[in-house]
């Protein structure tokens, strides 16, 4: 952690005078569940990108396709998995409730401790 500053050296009132300073706070450390790709193919609809509250959906700048998760900031909320229409399709076709880490899903949420590359 950076050296903590004294009261004379910091802006008053808790103000933050730089834009985009949230980049310095790696919220990935809060994560209990990790989003990972499953078997169902992503259709690059960008719903997950739209809804991710931490701007942690990676997009390939060249082909503008969904390219994974930025785990430095992803807090593991699972919103991406909830809004993914491919997940919805997989669940419907399975005809039963699936566990959130079911390998058949497009985005699965896997418990951090149980995750293996």
């Amino acid at each position: 952690m950076a050296q903590l500053k004294g009261w004379k050296e910091i802006p008053i009132g808790g103000m933050i005078l730089e834009a985009g300073s949230a980049m310095e706070y790696r919220t990935g450390g809060w994560r209990a569940f990790r989003p990972v790709f499953g078997e169902a193919a992503c259709i690059h609809c960008m719903q997950c990108w739209l809804f991710c509250p931490d701007s942690s959906i990676l997009v390939n700048g060249e082909n503008e396709k969904m390219a994974g998760f930025n785990l430095d900031y992803c807090k593991g909320c699972g919103i991406c998995a909830s809004v993914c229409p491919v997940n919805a399709k997989v669940i419907r076709e399975a005809g039963e409730a699936l566990k959130r880490d079911d390998p058949r899903l497009c985005i699965r949420m896997v418990e951090e401790g149980k995750f293996k590359e």
């Binding site: 500053k5 009261w7 009132g13 808790g14 933050i16 300073s21």
Partner: protein, 395 residues
């Protein structure tokens, strides 16, 4: 040229708001402050001000809107009383913590219950640790004059704190008195243009107000508030000096009245100080060496200056228009703080507290005279017969 008008205290403060012409006013009406908001709404409707006037649905929203507007760089004013102030509570602290120089008229009223709409100081005394600068006003003129000074004090770069300007509910707020109203241009020149250092609307320099502030930095931000309070006393005096020169008044941290050669004094704030002056004059005519000290600045509390001003006395009687329930001897807050100030600054003088006027109970010259006569007895014997007296309460 200034002119004299017959104004109620509420109207006098509204008149000051018209002349300040703040960028934003967000307020909710509550007795006895209501008239201020009504008069100001009239000025808005008549096009006399450019103010964005926000009619909010509660005081919590009023202070929230004030904080937002102040963070956006606006000059902001509002007004409230008692339960309205209580409903603002959370945001009252936030306004000071986020260093928003909001100016608020607090028309002092008993804080329920049982429900009561009349004057005492229990409302403002609750905000004494909130980080606001607190000024008292004896009458409408002082509330009017304090309003302009409050703008300057709060906005000073070394201070940047909100300022509450108190006046007594009904006694001052609804009584019509002669008020010298200054020329608009003179007021404008005195208050100047507000140039906020950190405006949210300054899009070239994006910034964040009010982020989460944990154990690593919160404490440092509180220390900064202490620093601002320490600067405030100097700034209050500088602003008063400039105001006095320009408008021929005599403001300071407090007003001594026939105090210099007095042997005993009463310390009392707001409108009752006016009544006490009459009593001082009457007792002086009898040859009794009595005086008065009327606090103007309650936050920051000028402990050393008060000790210096009262150090020569043989007895001091404090009059408190509220009770700090469960505090030492169930005394009032003004007494508790003043007694501590005198003790810590080496002033050994018999001191007693007289709680009075709760819920708007009348305080008459005869009762104040009794306080003086008991203080004279204290001076004679060197003994405090009763530490705290609940003046004129029925047994």
């Amino acid at each position: 040229m200034s002119r004299f008008e017959a104004l109620t205290g509420d109207n006098a403060f509204a008149m000051a708001m018209r002349q300040v012409n703040p960028d934003v006013v967000a307020a909710y009406p509550i007795t006895p402050q209501t008239e201020t908001v009504e008069f100001f709404a009239e000025y808005v409707a008549d096009g006399l001000v450019d103010t964005e006037f926000i009619c909010v649905e509660s005081e919590h929203s009023a202070m929230s809107a004030c904080v937002g507007a102040s963070a956006a760089g606006a000059r902001v004013m509002t007004a409230t009383s008692a339960n309205g102030l209580a409903l603002m509570w959370e945001i009252v602290y936030i306004a000071a913590s986020l260093r928003c120089p909001i100016v608020m008229s607090v028309v002092n009223r008993a804080l329920s219950g049982p429900i009561n709409i009349h004057c005492d100081h229990s409302d403002v005394m609750g905000m004494r640790d909130s980080g606001w600068i607190i000024l008292f006003s004896e009458n409408g003129q002082e509330a009017y004059d304090n309003a302009f000074q409050a703008v300057r004090i709060g906005e000073h770069p070394d201070v940047l704190l909100p300022v509450a300007v108190c006046q007594d509910g009904f006694i001052t707020s609804h009584a019509m008195e002669r008020v010298e109203v200054y020329d608009d241009a003179d007021v404008k020149a005195f208050i100047g243009t507000y140039r906020p250092q950190w405006s949210l609307l300054d899009l070239e320099h994006p910034k964040t107000y009010g982020p989460l502030d944990f154990y690593d930095y919160y404490y440092e931000h509180k220390r900064q508030q202490v620093e601002a309070m320490e600067h405030a006393q100097r700034v209050i005096l500088e602003v008063a000096e400039e105001f006095n020169r320009k408008f021929h008044r005599n403001y300071g941290l407090f007003e001594p009245y026939r105090l210099e050669d007095a042997e005993v004094a009463v310390v009392v704030a707001n409108s009752t100080a006016g009544t006490a002056k009459v009593v001082v004059d009457a007792l002086r005519a009898e040859g009794l060496k009595v005086g008065l000290l009327k606090p103007r600045v309650f936050r920051p509390f000028p402990a050393r200056e008060l000790a210096d001003a009262l150090g020569h006395l043989k007895a001091v009687a404090v009059m408190d228009r509220s009770i700090s329930f469960g505090a030492m001897d169930n005394a009032g807050p003004l007494f508790l703080e003043l007694a501590a100030a005198l003790a810590l600054h080496g002033v050994q003088v018999p001191i007693a507290d007289y709680v009075f006027g709760l819920g708007g109970r009348d305080i008459r010259p005869g009762e104040i005279e009794r306080v003086y006569r008991e203080a004279l007895q204290m001076a004679e014997t060197g003994q405090v017969a009763r530490r705290v007296t609940y003046l004129s309460v029925r047994e």
